[in-house]
Symmetry: C2
Subunit: 347 residues, 2 copies
DNA sequence: CTGAAAGCGCTTACAG
DNA sequence: CTGAAAGCGCTTACAG
């Protein structure tokens, strides 16, 4: 069933059918209704490719989840999407749908899959894309922006290349303040030997959190001690390994972790070292994943407003596409310290 | 940049350019390499819509996540994708990518969004689709299958309409055995007053688990008592509410919940009633979400092999599309009882 | 208000 | 081995 068929049945030309499909005003109400009736009766839906080729706007965007984890690759084992990725994904799809857009989701698990992302833009499958999980200053992302495609990136410092990042939409959590406030909270609890185990420093967020940590210490006249700082991957195992090593050489009274998964690993390492949370060591995470409230003790953590970030990404990107304007934006979304029971006063 | 441009630069016709792009054998190696070189140099990628319209196979499939929850709707609040959905989604995207397919993900949060799903098939945006989360015998899904489109459904009883479900790919966990084994495990622990709080009975899985529960009791000569059975939505609140009501009228020694979220709600309700898990009441969940191992006590639950189910769905569907055969299949994927610490012998 | 026609960017028989 | 041409199913100036 194609438009010609509908036209024949309705006794009009394809042009007229097309006009009613695209809501042109210049077709008499009676004709419009008759054609609409036939369209419905025959379950006719115009071919998407043909429409796009003929010039109708393509209303699909891409979501690229870059999730290259050494662990998962080495074992070749499938790992669940993190809360961060799955929440953002769901919310982006939802918001896009509200604006009449669909989303093509691509997961990049190894560098070889990167070719898919360029393709989707260049072959016009999508009219814009959102990136999450990439390393800072990802060259492919930069290339796509430079080529003039519409892009929104979550978690990317704009400072590193203002020329490029002023041509797209950038959304970040206020990682600096999140870390700063968390550390200040610990300082108020009289901690001074506060360790910081960051996630991979190639991610903008990890770097910003480290900066917030340092600044909070400095502002409180507490020296920044390098042996209290380490970087590991953003996973439970990463946190476990880092804290294991840390405790072998240092006696922190509190540890600020790169995210909640790492905090869970940290708790395990602390327990194995025969110490208690928060009795011996206080712990602060980042993310506020669902598990956090059920941990023993419930985890104090910094919550990101993922729903807001997703809306910002989807709405700005789609607006830029719809209005055909070269929208550029830089959002910093507040975070919230969720105080639970994993921290206590330092003795 | 289009194929004509490449042709002009290479001094050949569009036909020849097209031939090298589509790997036709009948073009001399030297010409092929020259053209490939130019294509790369100019970053040319053929337009996807044009190719599809011209007859090249469309390599995108749809994934439809049907997630209509009374709770989320009434409050209008965004809820994270469940572990079940997000795991399946990630795995399906991964497997599809391995076979050269992309996936368009659509979330259906209210009945009005249903029109999008038919559209995607009828307008040929996708060449097949996978459904998860739908109620049993979803009329839209049935209509799409009847219209001849390629469909894979996860969690759908085939018994209810063999005519239709023999025309598509159906994948289920072995819910019956999962429930049966869980109840048998409880019976071995000397429980006889075992309650069953199922999820929404419109889902095939909920019904099958209830059947497994009943059969296990009957096989052990334990009467099935209706007041020990209830149905609620597949959420933490659902479990909480159901168990609250249950405990007001009954004294079960064990409760089998529809899934892990419900089990978490159940634990809360039991605690509020001044009882202990497993001391006073043993608990078994279903799913094995990440949280389960961190609960206090760690939850005994039935684990679904989501990775396997996703692969089955993606691979069978894409094979059916690629080979253009009307593949039909019915898979029942085993489940595994994960024994942890939420059950103990009945006194 | 409406139809005939050009055009979107490809692929693929067809003919040579 | 290769090009000219038809065709995929639409949309949209253009002319009336």
């Amino acid at each position: 069933m194609k438009s010609t068929d509908i036209a024949r049945i309705a006794g009009v030309s394809r042009s007229t059918v097309s006009r009613v499909i695209n809501n042109y005003p210049n077709v008499p109400e009676e004709t419009r209704e008759r054609i609409l009736e036939i369209i419905k009766q025959y379950n006719y839906v115009p071919d998407a490719s043909a429409r796009i080729l003929a010039g109708i706007k393509n209303t699909t965007i891409g979501l690229f989840i870059i999730d290259i984890r050494p662990e998962s690759n080495s074992k070749g084992r499938r790992i669940a999407l993190s809360h961060y990725f799955s929440y953002l994904t769901g919310a982006i799809i939802e918001d896009a749908a509200k604006m009449g857009y669909r989303v093509l989701v691509t997961m990049i698990n190894n560098s070889e899959m990167y070719k898919d992302v360029k393709q989707a833009f260049y072959n016009k499958t999508i009219s814009g894309g959102i990136f999450i999980g990439q390393k800072s200053d990802d060259p492919i992302v930069k290339e796509i922006i430079t080529a003039g495609y519409k892009v929104a990136i979550i978690d990317q410092s704009i400072e590193s290349d203002k020329d490029i990042y002023s041509k797209c939409i950038v959304i970040n959590s206020d990682n600096f303040s999140g870390a700063y406030n968390a550390i200040q909270y610990l300082i108020n609890l009289k901690h001074s030997r506060i360790a910081c185990i960051t996630g991979e420093l190639e991610k903008a967020s990890a770097l910003e959190r480290l900066d917030g940590y340092k600044k909070a210490l400095l502002d409180a006249d507490i020296p920044v001690i390098n042996s209290l700082i380490a970087s590991e991957e953003f996973t439970e195992n990463g946190g476990y390994r880092a804290v294991k090593k840390l405790l072998a050489r240092e006696k922190p009274t509190a540890i600020f972790l790169g995210n909640d998964s790492m905090a869970i690993g940290a708790m395990k390492a602390i327990k194995e070292a025969g110490m208690k949370v928060p009795g011996d060591i206080s712990i602060v995470g980042f993310d506020d994943v669902e598990i956090s409230q059920y941990l023993n003790p419930p985890l104090t953590t910094v919550k990101m407003r993922l729903s807001e970030m997703a809306s910002l990404a989807a709405n700005s990107l789609i607006t830029a596409i719809d209005k055909e304007l070269n929208f550029s934006a830089n959002y910093k979304v507040p975070v919230d310290l969720m105080i639970r029971e994993s921290c206590t006063e330092s003795k």
